[in-house]
Subunit: 330 residues, 2 copies
């Protein structure tokens, strides 16, 4: 048994070849939910869905989000309507009272769907609609995710990190904004002064996640701050990781990041944007997989390989390195 | 100035030629909202939208609902997901507590979106999404409808009958069901024992509707029970109609109905399913437009014409008859 912690695109790219190294029927993926939003009344879970769509063989692997070949008829009409009625686009937060009303799990990240600021495809939307409706019928996010995994024929067990709300807020000079405003709408442009995981102090990992964290854990090359940070902000997750073998794949080569806003976010919370900074952020990691060009010296075992992942063969290679690293510390 | 009361397809078909007889810039349409539902978190207003889409030149005039040429990618994926995960389809009412939680205006007709039981097109969905999001931003249904009318470039003024919830419930031997379950899902099959307009005792017409009811009124050949009934169930509407000139177009020729479930519904509430029954249901009507083949004798002025409406020329003919009838009583 092995458990992957996933968020963003780093770990999903690793999963693309990991099934040749680790039996998917004995693998669990715990997905970040800090960057979820409620958009036009629908709970959108980008990190859960990247794994869901990948496992279902429908992921758009150009963008690593959304369904391959999906249409966007509703999205386009939303924009036509907003333009025609002179409604401002851009993220439209619901008012403060609404942020803590309605579905508990959507707290602090509730947006109007007028001129939808994140592009939701038409098939993709059906997933959010089914998820949100099952929540409204009384299911937990864990239950709903299993139902969707069933519908997409996933071999791995896919778990959201929590059934409680945790919202990743980026503190900028202009005030706090949700991660999706920072990343999707503002394209990581605002200066990051701090990153807050609102709700994490009272959120709990689910029983299923606690069980999964009894197994050896692989932290894929996801962004340590906003992809892994929401999980680590729950004390019970940090405690569980401290007492199980953990291998982490660095998303950096020295101080160069493969993709995404990891460097800016790490700097924003006062961490060095580098493999050293990742090692500091992961005190629970027992070993690391680093790129063969990464000269960082760490105080824990290291397995080196080419960590660039452009296809499933690359992913298989990195997964084999992670397996060797686990064998050293498990 | 003239005001049309609309619901279902009868009055929208009349509007298709009425603009040649009544200046649309001086016309108001008050639309039924009793058959609205909240489906997967979206407020769907079928009778408002038929007028909206007709006025915007995008109505599917084969079915008289939805947008012409619309795609159904989300709807199809909702059904694929439900099938793949073995989720029961059919109307899935939210539980009793949820029926009176959330958006006030959606009371008593809140359905899960799992296996969406009413087919919503992809562009159509953007309309519901914009409407619901503007409601969540704090707008009234009247405001939102004006915004949508603006986006669709409507010439007429389109008003929902109320900003308060009224839910049309059909009482059947198996218990009460919402009108949309009765009509869309069960295709008018269950025996109708009574029709209830839940909420109507406390709902009020909006100020804009009250103003519109100061003008002469044309009640189109809509179903008197479920298309007009929800409006008439509000005392202030019935009172206003009693004190303004009103012409009603019968949806029957004698005891034959042109289309829809009007006969079953009238019988279900103890009214004769015929033009006579319509006249009894409309004590406020000062004159009627009847089909030239309709031999019903009424105690009020009647203008006869061919009332079958298959195209806009037919509609123009019926509108001219309504104008003549109004001239007799205004």
């Amino acid at each position: 048994m092995v458990t992957f912690l996933a968020g963003g695109t780093g770990t999903p790219k690793l999963l693309d070849g990991a099934d040749r190294v680790f039996d998917p029927a004995a693998a669990t993926v715990v997905a970040n939910t800090g960057d979820d939003v409620e958009l036009g009344g629908l709970l959108v879970c980008p990190d859960v869905d990247t794994v869901l769509f990948h496992g279902g063989g429908v992921l758009d692997t150009e963008t690593w989000w959304g369904i391959d070949g999906d249409t966007t008829a509703t999205y386009e009409e939303l924009h036509r309507l907003a333009d025609a009625a002179s409604l401002d686009s851009g993220p439209r937060y619901l008012d403060d009272d609404a942020q803590t009303a309605g579905r508990e799990i959507a707290r602090w990240r509730r947006f109007s769907g007028v001129a939808e600021f994140m592009q939701i495809g038409d098939r993709d939307r059906a997933v959010h609609l089914t998820r949100t409706s099952l929540l409204d019928e009384g299911c937990s996010l864990t239950d709903v995710t299993r139902t969707l995994a069933d519908a997409f024929d996933l071999e791995i067990d896919l778990l959201p990190m929590s059934d409680d709300p945790v919202a990743t807020m980026i503190h900028t000079p202009g005030g706090p904004i949700h991660f999706q405003e920072y990343w999707v709408h503002r394209r990581a442009d605002p200066e990051v002064r701090d990153v807050e995981f609102r709700g994490a102090a009272t959120a709990e990992p689910t029983p299923a996640v606690r069980d999964a964290l009894d197994d050896p854990v692989i932290v894929g090359p996801s962004n340590p701050i906003t992809s892994l940070g929401p999980m680590l902000a729950m004390d019970a997750v940090a405690d569980a990781l401290a007492s199980t073998p953990v291998v982490a794949v660095s998303p950096f080569v020295g101080s160069e990041v493969f993709s995404g806003p990891a460097a800016e976010l790490m700097a924003g919370v006062g961490r060095e944007p580098s493999t050293s900074g990742v090692a500091d952020a992961y005190p629970f990691a027992d070993a690391f997989v680093l790129d063969e060009a990464d000269e960082t010296q760490l105080d824990r075992p290291v397995v080196r390989t080419d960590t660039r992942m452009d296809d499933s063969d690359d992913a298989e290679r990195v997964a084999r390195a992670a397996k060797r690293a686990l064998a050293e510390v498990a």
